[in-house]
Symmetry: C2
Subunit: 483 residues, 2 copies
Amino acid sequence: MAPALRPRPVPPVLLFSLLPVAAWLLIRPLLDPVPLPALYASLGLSLFALVGTLFLIPALGPTFVRADLKGRDLLKTYDDPIPESLGLVCASIYILLLILFIPFAFSDSFVTHTGRTERARHGIVVHEFPHHQLSVYLSSLLSLLMATMLGFLDDVFDIRWRHKLPIPIIASIPLLIVYYAERGATDVVVPLPLRWLLGPLLNLGPLYYVYMSLLSTFCTNSINILAGINGSETSQALIIAVSVILNDLLYLPWPVGFRIALPLHLLGRPAEVDFGGAWHAGMAYGSRILVERHLFSLYFMMPLVAVCAGFLYHNWYPARAFPGDTLCYVTGMAFAVVGIQAHFSKTLLLFFLPQIFNFVLSCPQLFGLVPCPRHRVPRFDSETGLLHPSKAEFKEKPPSSLATLILHVFAALGLVQLTTNERTGVISETTNLTILNVLLLRLGPMREETLTKALICTQVAGSVFAFAVRYGLAGLVYDGNRR
Amino acid sequence: MAPALRPRPVPPVLLFSLLPVAAWLLIRPLLDPVPLPALYASLGLSLFALVGTLFLIPALGPTFVRADLKGRDLLKTYDDPIPESLGLVCASIYILLLILFIPFAFSDSFVTHTGRTERARHGIVVHEFPHHQLSVYLSSLLSLLMATMLGFLDDVFDIRWRHKLPIPIIASIPLLIVYYAERGATDVVVPLPLRWLLGPLLNLGPLYYVYMSLLSTFCTNSINILAGINGSETSQALIIAVSVILNDLLYLPWPVGFRIALPLHLLGRPAEVDFGGAWHAGMAYGSRILVERHLFSLYFMMPLVAVCAGFLYHNWYPARAFPGDTLCYVTGMAFAVVGIQAHFSKTLLLFFLPQIFNFVLSCPQLFGLVPCPRHRVPRFDSETGLLHPSKAEFKEKPPSSLATLILHVFAALGLVQLTTNERTGVISETTNLTILNVLLLRLGPMREETLTKALICTQVAGSVFAFAVRYGLAGLVYDGNRR
C-alpha cells in the first residue's frame, strides 16, 4: 500500500481506557441521581464518538478510495490517493449519537426519575428539556442530516462554487420551519446607544428568518473557504466548538462552593465580570431558560468536539484522510443550530473572528474584482519542503481602479504582496487573499505543519479576544441581561 | 446522445395546467375556511412534487451519468448508460415538500384560524394534529432522510447484499427512539380466538420495538428484491401507496350527505361492512384519534404517490432512468412510518401480499439452500425481444435433500420449472425463485413491458384481496374496534 494511504495507527489502549469511562458516564445517573443526568450521558456518548471516529476513519478509508472518493494532496511530493469526504463518517457518527441521546434528554422515565431527587438537593430546579423542546431538537437533527447529505452530494457531484453557496440555506429549512411553527421569538435586544430610537426589544419579524439562514450560510461557507492545508478545516471547527463549550459552562448551575477565580476581570470592567458574587448559579443568574439553552448547546457541541478531535488525529499533517465538504457543512450547520436555538448568535459570531477576517479579505477574489484561481492554497516548494504565499495573476486584463485601490490598502496593512509592472506601475500579481497566505507573508515561509499550528494559534487568540469582548466590553453597549 | 439516454419529453401543458391547480389548493384554505385545510395543502404540495419529479428527472440525468451513477439495462439490445440512483431526486423532492408542509399542519396561526370556523360548521372537531405530534412527524422525516442517505450510500459504495439487510433498522432508529421518548403504546389487540388466553390487549413491551424495526426492514427489502425490470420497483410502491390512501379515505369525516354504495358488501359478511349507516363519519366512527392517524398517513402517502407517478413516467419501459436502491429505501421507510405511526401495520402488510409471496418464494435462494446468482432478472432473448424465466444452476454441489423437497413442492405448485439429470433424477437447474419468473412460467414468455403490466395487475389484485380480508374477513377474528 502507498505510504500516504497507510492509516495512522491508533493505540488500542485508547479503546480499552475510553470505553469503560464512557459506559460508566452513561450508567452513572441511573445508579445514583446527579444534578444534570443528561450531561453525563452526553459526555459518555461523546467519548463513544471519539473512539468511533478514531477507529472507523482508518477502517473505512479504503472503501472511500474504491468508490473514487479520493484526492491528491497538493502540498506533498507524493501523488498517492488520499481518501476524501471522510467527514461523512464523522457526521454519521455525530448524528447517530445525537439520535441515541434523545431518550436521555427527553424520556419521561429518565428525566423525572432523576429530576425529582435533584429538586430536593438543589435550590434551582433544572428540568433539562421541557418535553415540547423535543421538536426543536429533532428539527436541528434534520438540518444537520440535510447538511451532511448535501455536503456529500457536493463531494460526489462536485457542485460548482457559485451553485453551492445557497446549499446551507436549504439545509436550514427544517430549522426555520419548526422555529416558525413553534412561534419562536423574532425579537433582538437593542444595544443601549440605539434604545432611544428603537426601544429595548426590536421585533425583526421575517427579517429574523433571513438572519438565521444567512447565519447558517456564513458558518458553513466561512469554514469551507479557510481550507487547503492538512487539518485546517477540522482544527477550526474543533476550536470554535471548544470555545462554545467554555461559554456554555459559564451558564451551568455549578454546585455550591465550587468557585473559580476567573482571569476575566483582568480584561477590564471587573464589576461586569463579577456577576453578583455567587458563582454557583453561573452566568444564568438562576434563570432556568438560560441554563436549558446552554445545556442544549452543550449536547450538540460535546460530541462535535469528539468527532473533530478523532478526525484531526488522522487529518493531521501528513494527512491520511481528507474531510471533504461534508465536514464543513455539518460542523457549520451545528454551529448555526446552537447559535439559533440557544440564542447566542452574536457571541457565536465572535468565535468566528478569523473566519470573518478571512472572508472580508477574500471578498475581492470571491466577487471577481481580483482573479480567483481554482485553488488558493499556498505554493509548495518541493526542494525546501516549505510553503510560500501563492499568487494570482492579472492575465486577461489589468486591475480596475477599485481593485487597485483595495489591493494597495491591503498592501499597506501588510496583508498582500504586490508585483507591479516597473514601467507602468500597474499591478500584475498579488498574493492570494487568504489568511493562510497572510500568515506566510508575515511569518515567512514555513512547513505545512507549522502553518496549521499558526492557524490554530490565530483561532485560539481570536477566541480569547472574543471572550474579552463578550464579557468585558459588551457591558458598554448592552445592559445586565446580556445574551 | 445515445437514444436510451435521450430523456422522455414531458408535455409543457402539464406544467401550465398543474401548477395553477397546485397553487390554488395551497391558497384555498386561507381564502375560505375548509374542513381539513392541511389536506388541501398536502394535495397542492403533492401536485408540485409531481411536476418537480417530471421535470427534474430528465434534467438531472446527465449529471448523474457524469458522476458515474449509471447502469446498463440488462434486458435491452443496447449498451448505453442509463442514469442510476435517480430515486435520490424523488426522495429529495418528497422530503423537502414534507418539511415545507409543516407550517400547514402544525402552525398555530394556520390551524386555529381555520379550526375555529370548522368547529362551527361540523359536528366533529378535527384539530388535525395536536401540537405535540410535531415531534412524531419530525422523527418520521428523520427516518425517511436517513433511509434516503443510506440508500444513496448503498448506490455509491455498492454495499454487499448481506451487509445491507440491517440498514433499514438503522434508519428506523429515530422513529423508535422518539416513539420510546413519547411513551408510545406497545399494546396489540389480541384476536378473538386467543382472548381467553391473553386478554383483549397484550403489551408486547420491548418486543414491540423489535416488531417495528422488522416492519421497516421488511417494507424496504421486500420492494428491493422485487426488482429487475423497468418500472417494477416504482409501480409496486405506487400501487401500495394508492391502496394505503384508499384505506385512509375510509376514515375521514366526509361531509354529511355524501354517500358511496361500497361494493365491499359483495365480499361477504355485509353487516360488518355497513358500519353503522352514517357514512359521513367514515370508518372512524367519529373518533378524533383515528381521523388524525389516517390524516397523518395521507400527508405522507399523497406526495409519495406524486413522486412515484412522476418517476414512473421516466422509468417506464424502455427506462430512461433507474431508481437505484434509494427509491426502495425511501418508499419502504415511508410505508413503515405510516404503518407504525398511524397504527395500521397489519392492514399495511396485507397490501404487501405480492411482496410477501415473493419473499417466501425467494427464501431458499436468500438463505443459500439454492444457488443465488448476482442477478435473478428474467433472461432476455434479443432475437424475439421476449423475456424468459432465468435459471439457477446447481454447479458446485447437488441440492441438499431439504432443497430438493422444497423445489419439488414449488414445482408441484407450478412456481418453478426444474431440470433434472435424466439418469440420476437429481435436480441440476431451477428457474430463479422470484414472482417475475413465476409470471413468465405461468403466462409464457412476454415482452418486458407486458411483464411490468402483469406485475401491476398482480399488485392491484393483491390490494383488492387485502381490502376484502380487512373489511370482510377481519370481523371473524377481531371485534368492532378493528385497527
